[in-house]
């Protein structure tokens, strides 16, 4: 029974030529890459820090560094690590942007409104934070 099944499977496999395997393999890899490409607006590749609405710094998400942004209340500290970024500390009273923690997907944003600082993750392509029809 098992041998018969094995023979049946081999008969089917014999129909697949070397190029067919290659094409199917390439297709699988391409589909694997298509999911993050189409579903996450590409991979995250930089952090955009804004102060008072103007871009203060654009940091490559491959680096590991810490930057300080001066605002009306004091200094907001942004921490960047490979693949992610967060607001490390902020002089604002409610600390929402600090408690948001690490941001790693394109389109994610932490806003420290009292100190007028925002940190946004960007990918290769623009993403939407909402869609309306």
């Amino acid at each position: 029974m098992a041998a018969e099944l094995g023979r049946g499977a081999r008969a089917w496999l014999a129909l697949i030529r070397p190029g067919d395997w290659l094409l199917a393999g390439l297709g699988t890899v391409a589909v694997g890459f298509a999911f993050p490409h189409f579903w996450q607006g590409g991979l995250a590749d930089r952090a955009i820090v804004r102060q008072d609405g103007r871009i203060f710094a654009q940091i490559d998400l491959k680096s590991r560094r810490r930057i300080e942004v001066a605002g009306p209340l004091g200094t907001t500290v942004i921490a960047v690590e490979p693949g992610r970024a967060r607001v490390f500390s902020d002089p604002g009273p409610r600390q929402y942007c600090v408690r948001q923690g690490w941001l790693s997907r394109p389109g994610e944003i932490a806003i420290c409104a009292p100190n007028r600082v925002s940190l946004q993750i960007a990918g290769r392509s623009r993403t939407y934070d909402s869609l309306a029809y």
Partner: protein
């Protein structure tokens, strides 16, 4: 009443194309009864017929069978000239274009499985572009692209395998008769 002077000669090749197109239409109808989780994702069983025709009778016959299947199938399903018809037509045209190129691939390395995968990807690519340009003019449709491509890969491979098996069996019976 006099007999009509117009007579259309019917060749054996015409009859063969009609027979094969009827088989393809039958498969389309069976498939339309299968529920799918996502509109547009379906096995495309009728393409097995297209692949067989391409291998045995050439590209022109395959184009005829495919075109007749799209038109007759859509009339039977009540979809003629509805959006679904144009999606099917675009898919069929692009698949045939892909097949026209794919069948010139070296046969030692690439067989019906490759043809089928390429045709399925061309099919879904054309449909997505038409949907983006006409039916849903928003880049949101491309969110479905990975799912459609994955389905095209899976069903394309399966259909190609079935076509390859049928072709092989046909060759065996031919050589047995010879």
């Amino acid at each position: 009443m006099t007999a009509s002077p117009i007579e259309l000669p019917v060749t054996a090749a015409d009859r063969r194309i009609a027979r094969l197109a009827a088989a393809a239409v039958g498969l389309s109808l069976i498939e339309a009864a299968i529920p799918t989780p996502l509109p547009g994702v379906k096995p495309g069983l009728a393409n097995i017929v297209t692949l067989l025709v391409l291998a045995r009778y050439g590209w022109a016959a395959a184009a005829w069978v495919s075109g007749l299947r799209v038109v007759a199938g859509s009339i039977l399903l009540g979809q003629f000239l509805a959006p679904g018809f144009f999606l099917a037509l675009t898919g069929a045209v692009l698949s045939l274009a892909a097949l026209a190129l794919a069948r010139h691939l070296p046969g030692r390395w690439f067989g019906p499985v490759s043809w089928s995968i390429l045709a399925a990807l061309a099919h879904i690519g054309g449909q997505l572009l038409l949907a983006r340009a006409w039916l849903i003019p928003h880049d949101g449709v491309f969110l479905l692209a990975p799912l459609f491509a994955a389905a095209a890969l899976v069903f394309g491979s399966i259909n190609g395998l079935i076509a390859a098996r049928l072709l092989q069996e046909h060759e065996e019976t031919e050589s047995a008769h010879a």
